[in-house]
Symmetry: C3
Subunit: 139 residues, 3 copies
């Protein structure tokens, strides 16, 4: 078995959900030589998240943003951590509800995703800027 | 170290939460020879989920279904992605809140689950049909 | 590649969120010799959780507890699983929303966490007692 690790930087994305499957797989060209393996993708931030969901219809990503904003509201009177702006504490909560990493099997040189699955970046800040990922391939 | 991977197909389950620990471990008989390891279980769908929770009292699974249906409601007027039925967009959201994979340590030939832990399949569609899993054992 | 696994027992923590990064890394001194790797941390309980979030301002942890208590309420009339106390069924739900494990890349002998990231224990019972973790390092 072998272990390959890459630290990559994403372009800045607007608040919301974005498919980053290709940006991730481009970082590990070694993927195509792996008969079987696991790909681990980790985001080094506490106000953005990674999850796996529908890769086709963009309205799914819009509904994700609508749902998460209603479930984790801004300006809740009970928030104590409010000095980094109204989008900050909700961003922390969203990051933990959705998760900081995804782990995906690799089969025959490709991510063994289902037909409709892609990797989502959840950008939960209004101006999150460029986010750093650590991509680790085990083969 | 070695890496064993199996693609399996579950029987169709009704909407709700179901314990699939035995169905998963039966797919990797190599597990019993592993002194230490990690088992990764991945579901290749965006409207069903995998999580770990109580394996004994079935009312826990019923309460999971009640809770998740109240937290992620059907027919929200703001959903844009509604043409696959009222259970579809909620199923996508539930899948990301609960997760698409579980990763469990292996010790002395067995999953190192706590006494009360089992692997749950969350079937979030009314008629999800048979679901595909990819089970990867690292030892 | 090598695989090191430790079973550890945490001290009892009060209900709420607690940073346990140092307790985890102390269990695997082999970490400092790993050029690249992955660290998997698993909690063997269904009423406590592991997640990654802000390691600095303690008000973030307080807001996590406030948010999760409002999102997963005690004494919901629809709960069927209620004989272990009002904090029990909510604890199971919180555990699955936040997760039973975290997986973190290792780079140059250290966890490749972002500057502000730490490992949270979510203790969701009023008196959860000492919790058991399984820490698995792959290098």
């Amino acid at each position: 078995m072998a272990l390959v690790q890459k630290h990559i930087q994403l372009p800045a994305f607007a608040r919301g959900f974005h498919i980053i499957t290709d940006l991730v797989t481009q970082a590990v060209p070694e993927l195509k030589d792996a008969e079987v393996g696991l790909l681990h993708v980790f985001i080094q931030h506490t106000s953005a998240s990674l999850t796996i969901n529908e890769n086709a219809d963009p309205t799914v990503r819009q509904d994700f943003e609508s749902f998460i904003n209603r479930t984790v509201k801004e300006n809740e009177p009970y928030y104590l951590h409010d000095y980094e702006g109204p989008d900050d504490m909700p961003a922390h909560l969203k990051a933990s509800l959705l998760g900081s990493s995804v782990s995906i099997p690799v089969t025959n040189g490709r991510l063994a995703l289902g037909t409709w699955q892609g990797i989502y970046l959840g950008e939960h800040r209004n101006s999150g800027g460029s986010r750093r990922l650590v991509v680790t391939l085990q083969t």
